[in-house]
């Protein structure tokens, strides 16, 4: 049986990106600062991973202002949700195959 490693999404090889996608799969929207607190990483690190996911068109950005403070929210696109689900399915399949071995 062929192990479907190639079905794992390259965009989710990085743990932080996978975690960001998990949060956006469970919540309609999530803002930058809450994501930062939750994942416990630096501004720059989070921003670069968000950029990468945005480039893949897996997430969209909503910018607004709360008073004077900029408030940036992120939302998973349909494409992103589909990719996330397929990645999870592939992970599950891998686990099942290793159990058989």
């Amino acid at each position: 049986m062929k192990v479907p490693f190639d079905k794992l999404d390259k965009a989710f090889e990085n743990r932080v990106r996978l975690q960001i996608m998990s949060v956006l799969a469970a919540n309609e929207r999530y803002d930058f600062n809450s994501l930062k607190d939750l994942l416990n990483i630096t501004d720059g690190n989070l921003a670069s991973h968000l950029k990468a996911l945005e480039k893949e068109e897996y997430i969209t950005v909503h910018k607004s202002f709360l008073g004077r403070k900029p408030n940036t929210n992120y939302e998973a696109t349909e494409k992103g949700k589909k990719a996330f689900k397929e990645h999870l399915d592939a992970l599950e399949q891998l686990i099942r195959q290793q159990k058989v071995k």
Binding site: R15, V23, L38, L91, E92, I95, Q98
Partner: protein
């Protein structure tokens, strides 16, 4: 990738989805203590009520004075129980949040607070209207019903068990509305006994 690694990956996804969407730091111990405060409050209210009804043949003004005095005492007891319960919940949940790496005032706790607040404010207003219009027998049932509704509405943002506590409070409130005169008993059951049972279950399941 090794199987263990894959399992860890899936476990971390599950945990982050839960931590991002639910406030899982609600302390069970604070539920138990809220129940204890409510029972003490109900006991005090009962003593005050008994003392007042023991006066033999009071004049109209003495009776009116006593009734107003009793009402003020009951309101003070309710407010003290409420403040003690909320501050205990905040302090203990803050401790839990630190342990679980969640923020006490983050996305999830804000949602929890907001969805609880709408039914609670509605219930507060309707209770005040019942008092103003001289239907005090409906105050305790509406407190129980609206508190139950607030728990059901907030349950999406914390442990699912909160929903069942809410449903039980609503049922108790509806029964209390059918049995005027037993308000204090239902108040003690709903805010005291149910909180202690629920808090103990949660304490052993999640606090550790």
């Amino acid at each position: 990738m090794e199987e263990q690694e894959l399992q860890n990956e899936l476990a971390s996804i599950r945990s982050i989805m839960e931590r991002s969407s639910k406030f899982i730091s609600l302390s069970g111990l604070s539920g138990i203590l809220a129940g204890v405060y409510a029972l003490i409050g109900a006991g005090l209210a009962f003593l005050i009520y008994e003392n007042n009804s023991n006066l033999s043949n009071p004049s109209f003004f003495v009776a009116l004075h006593n009734a107003l005095y009793m009402l003020a005492e009951l309101i003070i007891i309710a407010v003290v129980v409420l403040i003690l319960s909320i501050s205990t919940a905040v302090i203990l949940s803050n401790r839990q949040a630190k342990k679980k790496g969640q923020s006490i005032w983050g996305t999830t706790s804000k949602a929890l607070f907001f969805y609880m607040l709408i039914p609670l404010l509605t219930g507060g207003i309707i209770s005040a209207l019942f008092m103003y219009n001289g239907r005090p027998e409906y105050i305790i049932p509406s407190m129980l019903i609206f508190y139950g509704l607030s728990l059901v509405s907030a349950s999406n943002f914390t442990f699912g068990e909160v929903k069942y506590l809410g449903l039980l409070e609503i049922v108790l409130g509806l029964i209390a509305a059918c049995l005027p005169g037993y308000g204090l008993l239902f108040w003690a059951l709903g805010f005291g006994v149910l909180h202690i049972i629920y808090g103990s279950l949660m304490y052993f399941k999640y606090d550790k």
